[in-house]
Assembly symmetry: C2
Homo-oligomer: 332 residues x 2
């Protein structure tokens, strides 16, 4: 059974999940050419996954089309198990607890689409609606404090199956990265009287150099301290802490913004492997003034190496002021 | 010119170094077969690197052998520049400063050895002596507060040249990862009256299950909260904060411990790409009771993906209690 373990020195949780070692390991060269005939995520192969927890059908569904557009299924090789959260065990030095959590896969299309940018706006919008539906479900479950939603596209970004999918996890704690953002957001608000992400959106809009695209609802930019070449964030312009409180119109605009961003990244960086993840308010916390949800997209053009792992700092060879004009320059 | 930039929300420094984009990019399949005839690190090609800052000759040197054993040269594509440290600039939201630092390459052998385990004990010992000599040099320079020493072996671990080398950086600040260890070490000492790493070494020695090897001077083990499959730490048994205060006998034992560990990792995990890094006391701080230097080795058998990047937590499919017996079971 999986287990959460805390490093005895630093604030680092590890999920030790031996079951995960059994999952399919596509080689990098196989991921994009994997035979759709044996793909467990393709329409017609529904029996190859655990039964779905959510199925969204396109309202335009008609005879001849697949009967679903987005399916959410439990991860067949979960890092976490749907069980009660046990009290942490400690021997005075080491701390561990059972690996309670949810680990689900969002299959983004019934078709074997391996590059998310090839989906339509409406398809991507449905993916966001699926995220929202699961978040709302988990908000009602007293066990879960945080949901981390993320996507790995390409083997170099950690994907083990080519068919477009994202992963959603419910965790019994707020993990380190969003926790640091939230704590820092509170401090900034206490001193400056406003949300730090609102301040960033305004500053980026004024400066303009790092903007990739901007519309009524979202600002898409390469952040000032980009960790990697082509790092891009999508931030709602109207302050909001909770992704799940976004409106239908917001999700459509978000889908349009993400799709256009991915097309631009594909053109500039030759269809790079990438990760994205949603940084959102903790599940049990209400809308507030100091935290602001956003999507972070990290192309994986170079490896994280000893410097990054050993220091927690990053070396980025492409300044965001150079990346943004490249991305803006693409004519989709 | 490179620049340090601080993320406006979290404590994350990024070195934006456009010059690094020009460095040679070996493809994974090329790294281990790179033609020694064009390798800038091989004996006879000394003019292909900047002039060395340190050359160590094996005391056994005799006619017919290369005239050097370890060469330390400035990185030709440095992430940091040897210059004065400027005061940080801020516009109230974003903070940056000039990329002042040292970035050097330790060429570990005159021969085109691509796997460190193929070096002799004496060769590896000389690498540690080279690290020490540079650390002592930097301790005398008022600009540098921390030295991060690390190795990337294999393209998947971030190496761009196959010939065995490590990298050493002098930084004007103590970076996040060692800083967290040091702060936590101070807290543990204040409450428990002893060094947390001494407590770990004692506990691991008592439990035994996660030990890879142990000798008079070092304990080598898979840590309780291993981030990745086969993660292994080398810790001196006698409390010491500063790597550079180790004795000649310590360095020989360390070289022997590292070499044997790498041979075991190679056998168990099929010559995995890996990173190691030295976590050491800051350059200007004396020996103390609360911090304990050590070497962390991370095999790179699977990619860090959206979950790790988005949460700061790790998913590890191989419990250290399973990894350690595999590593112990190898007959070198």
């Amino acid at each position: 059974m999986p287990e959460f373990r805390k490093d005895p020195v630093v604030e680092r949780w590890v999920i030790v999940a031996a079951e995960r070692a059994k999952r399919p390991q596509d080689k990098p060269e196989r991921v994009y050419t994997a035979d759709p005939g044996i793909c467990p995520f393709c329409a017609g192969h529904e029996s190859m996954t655990p039964p779905p927890v959510l199925v969204l059908a396109d309202s335009d569904a008609r005879p001849g089309r697949a009967i679903w557009s987005v399916r959410v299924v439990p991860n067949k090789y979960p890092a976490l198990v749907d069980q009660q959260v046990a009290a942490p065990k400690t021997d005075g030095l080491y701390i561990s607890t059972n690996g309670a959590g949810m680990h689900e896969v969002v299959i983004e299309s019934p078709k074997h689409v391996v590059n998310m940018a090839a989906l339509g706006e409406r398809d991507i919008e449905l993916v966001f609606h699926a995220y929202r539906r699961r978040l709302l479900q988990w908000r009602g479950d007293p066990r879960w404090r945080y949901a981390l939603l993320y996507k790995n596209q390409g083997a170099e970004a950690g994907a083990t199956l080519a068919h477009g999918h994202s992963q959603i996890t419910a965790l019994p704690m707020v993990p380190k990265e969003p926790l640091e953002e939230i704590e820092s957001g509170k401090k900034y608000f206490a001193s400056a009287g406003r949300c730090v992400y609102c301040a960033i959106a305004q500053r980026e809009s004024e400066i303009g150099r790092r903007i990739v695209l901007e519309n009524d609802r979202f600002i898409v930019f390469c952040p000032f301290a980009s960790r990697v070449a082509g790092e891009t964030w999508i931030l709602p312009k109207r302050h909001s802490s909770c992704f799940e409180s976004a409106s239908k119109a917001d999700f459509l605009a978000l889908a349009r913004s993400l799709r256009e961003t991915l097309i631009r990244l594909n053109r500039c960086f030759n269809e790079p492997p990438f990760n994205y993840f949603l940084h959102n308010n903790p599940l049990k916390e209400p809308e507030n003034d100091y935290y602001h949800w956003h999507l972070e997209i990290l192309p994986r053009l170079h490896e994280f190496a000893g410097f990054e792992l050993g220091s927690g700092c990053y070396m980025n060879p492409l300044p965001p002021e150079d990346a943004a004009p490249l991305l803006r320059g693409v004519v989709p």
